[in-house]
Symmetry: D2
Subunit: 187 residues, 4 copies
């Protein structure tokens, strides 16, 4: 491109070449697109279903290995604390800002987290995300919406969910904030 | 500063002058500090208490005017949709991505939101924020923690709360994401 | 959308409705696209040509008014200091971090900047941008490349130019950094 | 901290404990501070001097090894193209958006870049940065100013320089944009 640019500068002509030059611009796009957000949300749901099936077919050890891999791929614990408030946690272990706490939430089996029964082990068959709104700003995207989980008996659980995603240096999108809660029930 | 810089370039001396020059650098800092986050959280709680007292002393109209001002100052509805999931909302009006929905949540009095009784009108006297973790990244800060509200009878309500703050072009910090939920109760 | 989402949660069906729901997501995109960068660069060149013609047709006062409007629209002086190193400035007024210095550079006529003859008044007829590389990251985009200016005699001047653009709260793209220099000539 | 927060919620007291709790917040700060910018600029100058001395004491091979290490540490070529316009480059190799081009500029010895004589090999003894303005925004900081280089004969070369720094996922600050130019000389 720079050779072509020189030609333009010298001759003052070369409009056709300019088009050629434009295709040679080096572009680095660090921003997350809406499409990437939707795909990342879908991948999160697919992974939850996969852990459920792994558990049913191969048992808790295999499910734990898979869940650890999913957490390492999907969450940003390598980047710093993750602001994770899972749906079903309680005091004094409401928040899971480190990897161990997240893994305990998804597959249980950790005596340090005695209340955790394993959210990913509940026989999930379908996960559906219905976003109300999405904010896109560069490396960050934030979403708010309903997420519905259907188990193998067909029972549907719907939660309110906020996610903040960050595209890391390698271009991989990681969850850095995740607040999930059961819908409020007026008494 | 630039005159001084010239002097340095020409003479190769002037170490003392360098110190003087350093103070003349024009700095624009668009980032939110931890201290600003904590002050903004405190201001949100103080405003909630102020609306409660305004309601008790001057009635619902005055409270609504104050709440509208608080929302305009504290939330980023001017910047786009706000990802707001209040503590006590239900389907089909769970999410309050526009200003009208936020105002209805805080002071009720809106026939379009018949379930809203006015969260800010519940006689609040103390608001306490206990952050579990804070992410700071430029214009954005995200927090996760417990917020406790004490009313005039001394009854305490504690919620799980995520906030994302954005410093706008004018340097004012606005809430652009706010997910609040009652703690999960195992059945 | 939220009404539809509720229907999905209740019935567990409604795949077709999901597509409808997706179109109702509120999206706020604060990021600059490559296309916006290219259009903003072109607008900068068009404005330079327009000031040249205004000067020829209506004189220096009209050119100064137009240039002031261009600077207010294209540069981010309202956001803070702009890191502007124009092509033809010298010590002790090399850098033009405030609006007055930028206006003086483009149209001269300011006794505080006696060396400025008005870069925008040099009879420009064509401006061509050839980017070598572009970085996109949210509100910010940074470009590096050659920019060629052709005057009414057909003489071409080519400079090396870096720009950083920022999309402000209102969605308008502003120049916050601009370093321009004549190509190095080996002696 | 979360155990303490629980105590507060239950008892409604514990103001002293709150102070203790505050110290336990997990903080992740992805933003660059002014101090980090100044240290990074100084490190860049120190590295340039170190390469000059390595060249004089151990020869061109050792200098090239050191320069490669400096580039890998100081520049963001691992993150994408770097928008690098060095002081002394010319068409058709003005811009050095990849690592090879940067290394050739600093130490020469590359037949693909026949005009490069090695800017880092010119016997530098002192590097002084005089910033005119600095923009800080999260992971990014942009600076504009004069940088003066003094060689072993005491000759001073001053350039106009823009830098954009990015703090990467590991917390290391990298140059992603670097435009350097000799001051304009009116004819």
């Amino acid at each position: 491109m720079r050779l072509i640019a020189k030609a333009i500068a010298v001759t003052g002509a070369a409009l056709l070449l300019t088009t050629g030059a434009a295709t040679a611009i080096e572009i680095h796009n660090g921003s997350i697109s809406q499409d990437e957000v939707l795909k990342t949300q879908k991948a999160w749901g697919d992974a939850l279903i996969a852990i459920s099936k792994e558990h049913e077919e191969k048992g808790p050890d295999a499910a734990r290995v898979m869940a650890a891999n999913v957490i390492d791929a999907a969450y940003g614990y390598r980047l710093g604390p993750v602001l994770f408030k899972p749906t079903l946690t309680q005091e004094p272990q409401t928040f899971r800002t480190d990897r161990e706490g997240a893994l305990a939430y998804f597959v249980g089996q950790n005596p340090n987290y005695p209340a955790d029964t394993g959210f990913a082990l509940k026989g999930w068959r379908k996960v559906e995300v219905n976003n109300a709104a999405i904010l896109l700003d560069g490396e960050y995207a934030t979403t708010l919406g309903k997420v519905s989980f259907t188990d193998k008996q067909g029972k549907v659980t719907t939660v309110d969910k906020s996610w903040t995603f960050k595209k890391d240096d390698a271009g991989v999108i990681r969850i850095v904030q995740h607040h999930s809660s059961l819908p409020y029930q007026a008494k």
